[in-house]
Assembly symmetry: C2
Homo-oligomer: 237 residues x 2
Amino acid sequence: MEQRRNERAGETGDPRENPPTNGIIRHESHMRKSGVNRPGILNPDRLGRILYDVPCKVCQDHSSGKHYGIFACDGCAGFFKRSIRRQRQYVCKAKSEGRCVVDKTHRNQCRACRLTKCIEAGMNKDGENAGGTDSRCVCVCARAAVQHERGPRSSTLRRQMALYLKEASSSPAPAGDLNPAPSSTVLNLAVPKAIPRHPMMPAFLCAPPPPPPLPAFLKVRRSLTAATHYVDTLTQV
Amino acid sequence: MEQRRNERAGETGDPRENPPTNGIIRHESHMRKSGVNRPGILNPDRLGRILYDVPCKVCQDHSSGKHYGIFACDGCAGFFKRSIRRQRQYVCKAKSEGRCVVDKTHRNQCRACRLTKCIEAGMNKDGENAGGTDSRCVCVCARAAVQHERGPRSSTLRRQMALYLKEASSSPAPAGDLNPAPSSTVLNLAVPKAIPRHPMMPAFLCAPPPPPPLPAFLKVRRSLTAATHYVDTLTQV
DNA sequence: GTAGGTCAGTCTGACCCCC
DNA sequence: GGGGGTCAGACTGACCTAC
Ligand SMILES: [Zn+2]
Ligand SMILES: [Zn+2]
Ligand SMILES: [Zn+2]
Ligand SMILES: [Zn+2]
């Protein structure tokens, strides 16, 4: 039988035609976010983050300081980080191959050209010795030496741990019946099993792939972003 | 002070360069999905859904039957539905304005041209009397008469209801202290308040915008998709 | 001050239910 | 058979913490 899904190849993501609602709303949405009480959202001390007079060297949007060696906006910085981290290989699909416009309005039209421009503009994973000339090979060739990851923040870990402990203590048994007692599961947190894991990856975040009694916080809302990266790294190394 | 976020305008979403992992994995991911036990995932009776010999009239991908009047793939059908439903207005950003290639590999490059091609190919919101000639105006002009929405499926409502009842009965008080007793909240489910709501929208899914004691299932995993539509509709009518 | 982390918001398309 | 709903997976960028 044909496996249709295997044929797929394209892009996926967010190429904003309708970006998230503006900041004010985001602010509010943060305030009433599920349970987590985020500390310093929209910290007044940091409202001057954006350098309105210094353009992003990649897309000419307002920059937010230097990123990877050049003045860049949050968008391009994040894009570059993700691309390197996940070792993305983009392909320009335009007819005029590799000549797509990369400015604030078009930067999400072609990832290949955006990344190329990032590199040409001098972005460098080391954040130094950039300049714009021969700083190539950051993403494509083997020299890419992916940037170091730090794993979840301590605050995140604390929050997830708290959440897990709370759940473990409240619900006697998840649902099934062949589950080990939750108490033993709690212990497992501190006693990492022999699961191969990324060095930066806190042990208890390495979910045992098969077993059913998954700790709840491994299915965090929807942002397994970090965890996903680790998996990528693991499988690719 | 400048409200930077207000300036934003672009696209956001999934323009697949790295689409979700193939079907087999999706299948498995469904099987071990959080709590929900989805009934007939990958139903063997429906594996013949795809018409491998009939191309999508929009992008030439394999079609899955007629959608909105023409043979179309799931992607184009979904794209058309979302565009109409949310009354999206796309703008072609290419230099050769409005002449972007729309095929399987390029269909996510330009939403404006994809929608245009959907319409030109004869897609019609009524799903009938199409043909490809004068069936325009489906999205831009007033004749668009957005398709009718049905609201969440009964099965979904049942699931969410069950989930909510379970939560309400287990956890004594969410976390705060000025929350009304959960029991009263349960009652609110059956006794819709005077909140203006979409006719298709089950009353208890109309979250009271300001109050803190939000029923848990209003923050369902991440798929408020349907609910979002309703909000859109509400504000736009 | 910049590196890396977080996560709400948005989109895509395979797959499902139901008339 | 096709309409509409579902939702995992993927991405973006504003904002945050930490070194
Ligand atoms: Zn930029
Ligand atoms: Zn390009
Ligand atoms: Zn198509
Ligand atoms: Zn176009």
